[in-house]
Every structure is written in C-alpha cells, then in structure tokens.
C-alpha cells in the first residue's frame, strides 16, 4: 500500500494558526497562544528566521520511536501514520528520548499519563478524509496525498516558481525518509529543521547489535559450559591428587603394603 503523507510548504504558510486550532478541536485540547509542541499541542506553527514553520510528528518511514518502544505501543500503520496505543504504554519515555525530531511529549502532571503526538488523524484517513490540519489550511501550505503524489506536487511547484524555493525536499532521505515532507525558500537548517541526521533509518544502529544476541547466547553458553567442564575436570584431578597425597602422608605403612601387593 502506498503511504500517505503531508507536504508542508513553508513558503506558503501565512501563520494563521488555523491548523493548530483544528488540531486542538480534534483532540479536545485548549487553544492557546503558546506556539510549541506540548502534551496539549500536537501540531504548531513556529516562527524561525521570519519564516512560519508548521511542525508535527514526521511519521518516519522506519520510526525510531516505534523501534525503541519495549511494548510496541507505537506503530507504523499501513496508511503511513505512526500511531500510539496508550493501553500498551508503560511510560518509560524511551520514545521521547530517542525520537530524532524530539516529537513525543508527556503529560507530566497526570497520575495516569500518556505520551502525546500527532497521529496524522489516522481515523479520518481510514474513513477517507484528510487530516484536520490539512483541511483547515487556507493557503495550501499543507497538502495531503500519497508520497508519490506529494513529490510530484513539489516538483511542479519548483518548476513553476523556481525563485521561491530551495530546490530540495526535506524528508526524502532524513533518518531514512519521512511521511511529512518540507519545502522552503532557504536551506532547511535555517528554518530549524535538523540537518545532522544520517540517511539511513536510526533503528539500524541498534539492530546491528540486537541481531547478534541469539548468536551470542548460543556461543556464550557453549563457551561457559566448556570452561566449566575443563576447570571442573582440573579441580577433580587436583582434589584427587590432594586426597592421595594425604593418604600417603598419614598412612605410610599402607603405601608399603600396597607396594608389596603389587610385587
């Protein structure tokens, strides 16, 4: 199945915050003037170097958050969104620690806390609708579609208005690719998008180690068993020798009689 995604064109965003409000409505969050991601704000519009930069979960192709979650509470769905299931979550917050985009937020002041992040309105997508923020955007700064469609739209915008764009799409290769793609008028680092991410999915760094574990268990077990066997033999021999010596020392007469018998 082709993954859906959202193309965010920062050159078109007018900073009206309609997306923030639509998102708050969908989640039942309060509407505030504090424009940063939090446990009550799953999408926001930042102002970075005079550019409006909508931010939200990137819905990575190989999500770091889903890879680190010990109980699989986070999941990359077939449709593309990365979703969170609170009924599984143990609250270890490894997802927050590991997400390369620092997206997941926590309900710190609840005794029954949840992780909070955008789910690209998974339920709406399944029902054939667009995400709420896309629907609310009056400026076509957020476009919904399959990743193929989005790339074509981006190329088209580059071709029509080359002067307006820095001719690259952010999210094609970052951390192995994401379902949220960005266009900008200047290099992405200048609008606060992280530039130092590898092109491969981050989970491969841990998998390189994790995949060795079964081997390690097998060979480690064999090796330890072998060492035990050898040192045990040695010990038995040592003990036996000690015993013999003791017998010889305490009972020299027996030794003589043994000799005599042999003779």
């Amino acid at each position: 199945m082709q993954h859906y995604g959202i193309l965010i064109d920062t050159t078109l965003c007018i900073g009206c915050y309609a997306c923030e409000e639509a998102c708050a409505d969908r989640w039942g969050f309060p509407k505030t003037d504090v424009h940063e991601l939090s446990s009550t704000k799953n999408t926001t519009v930042l102002t970075v170097n005079d550019a409006y930069v909508p931010r939200m979960c990137m819905h990575c192709d190989v999500p770091t958050c889903a890879s680190v979650c010990p109980v699989g509470a986070l999941e990359k769905t077939d449709e593309g969104p990365v979703t969170y299931d609170v009924s599984k979550c143990i609250g270890c917050r490894y997802c927050m620690q590991a997400c390369p985009f620092d997206v997941p937020k926590y309900q710190w002041n609840s005794a029954n806390p949840k992780v909070s992040k955008c789910d690209m309105c998974h339920d709406r997508i399944v029902a054939g609708k667009k995400p709420a923020c896309v629907e609310a955007c009056p400026a076509e700064a957020r476009v919904f579609g399959t990743l193929e469609e989005l790339k074509q739209i981006a190329e088209k915008r580059f071709a029509e208005n080359p002067a307006n764009y820095f001719p690259q799409i952010y999210g094609i290769k970052e951390a192995g690719g994401t379902s949220i793609l960005y266009l900008a008028s200047k290099p992405f680092a200048e609008i606060g998008l992280k530039g130092n991410l590898p092109d491969h999915p981050l989970p491969s760094l841990t998998w390189a180690v994790m995949s060795k574990i079964p081997n390690y268990v097998f060979w480690g077990g064999t090796l330890l068993g072998g060492i035990y066997w050898i040192t045990n033999r040695r010990k038995e021999v040592r003990d036996l020798e000690a015993k013999l010596e003791q017998m010889e020392n305490t009972n020299p007469s027996r030794r003589i009689s043994n000799h005599e018998q042999e003779n």
Partner: protein, 405 residues
C-alpha cells in the same frame, strides 16, 4: 582501640543519630512518594519534555545495575572457573546483587509513567527494542539471583530437599545468569546507540555496549571490596585481603581494556578537538578517565597498594565514583548539551532515591543478621563468635556490646 576510649553513652548517641537520619530519609521519601503517585511525575521531579530521563534512570537504573555486577562476576569465578578462593565472598556478593536488582525494579516503579503496566513486556513483544531486551534480562536475572541466593535461606531453615535440587541445577543457573548479565549490562549502553546526534561525541561510541560491559566488570568487584570493608566495620566480619587483591586485579584488567577502547574511539572518531576543549564536558571527561580509570589501574597494579587495605579501599572508591560519573555524564551531561536545557534532580527525586538506598542497607543488615551470609570459618573463630551471638540478638546496640566484650 579508639572504641574503648569512647563511653558507651557516646556509642548509643551515634546509633541514635544514624537511626534518626534513616527515619528522616524515610519521612521525606514517603512524602515524595505520595506526591509522585497522586500528582504525577511533573510535580515530583524536574523532568520535562526536554529532559525525559533524569536522575532515576541515570543513577538508580544505569548505576544501580552496574554496581550490582559483583554478583555475576563472583558467581562466574566460583562456579564456572572454579576459583575456590573467591568462595568466601560469593554469598555477600550474590546478596548485594539480588538486593540491588530489587531496588532497581522499585526505582523503575517510581520512574515509569504507568508502573501498573510494568509487566507488559512479558506479553507485548518488540524484539527490536533494547528496552524490551533489558526488561526481559532484568526480570529473568532477578529470578536467577533469587534462586542463587535461596540456598542460604534453605540452609538457615535446614530444608534439605530444596537445597539438593538447587545444588543440582546451580551450574546451568549461573551460566544463565552470566549470559543474562552480560546481555543487559551491555544493553544499557546500547540504549544510547540510537541517538548518535544527541549524545556528546566524547560519550558516543559504536562500542557503547562493550564499554558498558567492561565498566560493569570493573565496578562489580570494586563494590564487593567496599562492601567488605564497610561490613567488617559494622558487622565485625571481614574478608581476607588476598581475595580482595585478586578482585582488584580483575578490575584493573577490565579497566585497561576499557581504556584501550576509549582511546580507539578518540582516534577512530577524530575526537581530539573535543578531548582538548576544556569546557564542562571536556573537564568531566578527563575527571572520569583519570580518576575512574587511570588512577585505579595504577593503584591496583602496584604491589604495595594492591596488597594494602587502604590502597584497595581507595582504588575501589575511585572506580565506583568514576563509574557513577561516567553514567551520569552519558545520561545527563551529554543530553544537557544537546537540549540546551539544564537539569538537576528535585529534592523529591533525591529523597526517593535515598529512601530506596536506605531500604537496601536495611535489607542487607537484616539478611546478614538472620542468615548465614558471611563465611562460617570466621564464626568458628573463638572471641569473634561470642560477639556474633550477642550482635544477632541485640542488633543496633552491638557496637556497644562489642566494647564490653
């Protein structure tokens, strides 16, 4: 003997002082516990979205698990390598490890946002997650430690049948324990493999799992050493110096290999500029390397210091402090640098940790009092054994009694 000079009254005062400290810690800890579980993590801790892992993960878990490594190192030495001279420290080491792991789990119950779901990894699997693997290893290894420790309980209550069963399975059990330990000791380092851009370069390394494993091997025996000195003061039972000298050598070897890997990182990852930038991170890095590795290696390699009580004690202390510094540097200093946010634990985080540690001490004390944890040979020792009997009954006032004896 200075203790003879002190009046019994002075002794009692000292005991009441420590008892008072214990109860103050408990009171603060319990208050913080109530706040933590009624108002959430935010009310009790200085954690935030920018700093999701703090003191409880950095100290209680990363350090706690490492400091309890003596259990598997000594068990492997005795059961698998048949190094019989380590036998006298087997029980105290296994006891400390067991208590250590129980405390780590207790700390996790505080740190997890939804602790009542802590058992979820049992049925909800994600084999890609390092945390999942750590959860399984810790769960299993705590069980293994309980079994390794159980013969002491059986011996106390003269239960022969279970004693026999355990005797029969102890070797596979210890092998399992060693595998589980080496897995999760190293995996605690692997937790940070996935955030290469967040960890400060001096602490990031593709060798993180090996570095964690080696430091655990180094710090385990060091903890056993410290513990032996402390218990010899408190319980009047001690472990012979030659054993501790040998343990010191284990530490020295592990730390040497560790140092080589650290140097390799600097060379391979071209970290020279970071090493010689004397910012906060650079200074902490040097403190950690010199105090936690170089100094103890030197102390433990010289015959003179490796064979003296003082030399052994101080080198063990350096190893432990260096170890704690290393874990805190990775989990706090280096992440602080990335997020730009400052983090220092709140009084509640600290007092809950203190409470957990205090409970550990109390548990150790009780176990030593009622179970045959320390070697029998010593108890057979005439003048000492008399004191023991009294100690066992009078408990807290035993120092006083010892003086009378």
């Amino acid at each position: 003997m200075t203790s003879l000079l002190k009046t019994p009254l002075g002794k009692i005062h000292r005991m009441t002082f420590w008892t008072a400290v214990f109860w103050i810690i408990m009171a603060l800890g319990l208050t913080a516990t109530v706040i933590r579980f009624t108002q959430g993590l935010g009310a009790a801790t200085n954690l935030s979205d920018k700093f999701p892992w703090g003191f409880w993960i950095g100290f209680d878990v990363l350090c706690g698990v490492g400091l309890a490594a003596g259990g598997f190192v000594v068990a492997a030495a005795v059961y698998i390598f048949h190094l019989d001279y380590y036998k006298p420290i087997l029980r105290p080491a296994v006891l400390t490890a067991f208590l250590g792991y129980v405390l780590v789990v207790v700390a996790l119950l505080f740190d997890l946002g939804r602790p009542w779901q802590i058992w979820h990894p049992l049925i909800m699997w994600n084999p890609h997650s390092v945390m999942f693997e750590v959860a399984w290893c810790v769960m299993f290894y705590t069980t293994v430690l309980a079994l390794e420790f159980s013969p002491i309980v059986f011996e106390r209550f003269k239960l022969e049948k279970p004693q026999k069963i355990l005797h029969a399975i102890i070797v596979p059990l210890v092998i399992l324990g060693v595998i589980l330990s080496s897995l999760h000791q190293s995996s605690l380092g692997s937790l940070y493999l996935i955030v290469p851009e967040k960890v400060y370069p001096l602490w990031y390394s593709s060798n993180l799992p090996y570095l964690f494993f080696l430091t655990a091997i180094a710090v385990g025996p060091a903890m056993v050493t410290i513990e032996s000195f402390l218990s010899s003061r408190t319980f009047r039972r001690e472990i012979e110096l030659p054993i501790l000298s040998k343990l010191g050598k284990v530490t020295a070897v592990a730390l040497s290999v560790y140092l080589v890997l650290k140097i390799e990182d600097v060379v391979n990852d071209h970290l020279w500029s970071y090493v010689f930038t004397f910012n906060l991170e650079g200074l902490l890095y040097w403190a950690e390397i010199i105090l936690g590795a170089v100094v103890p290696i030197i102390l433990l390699s010289y015959k003179k210091t490796n064979r003296s009580k003082k030399g052994l004690f101080y080198s063990a202390l350096f190893v432990v402090l260096g170890f704690i510094l290393n874990r805190m540097n990775l989990s706090v200093t280096s992440i602080e640098h990335y997020t730009g946010a400052h983090y220092f634990p709140s009084w509640m985080e600290i007092s809950i940790t203190l409470m957990i540690v205090a409970l550990g001490f109390a548990g150790f004390r009780l176990a030593v009092k009622y179970l045959p944890v320390f070697p029998k040979e010593k108890e057979a020792n005439e003048p000492l054994s008399k004191t023991f009997d009294v100690v066992e009954f009078i408990g807290d006032k035993h120092e006083h009694t010892t003086v009378l004896n």
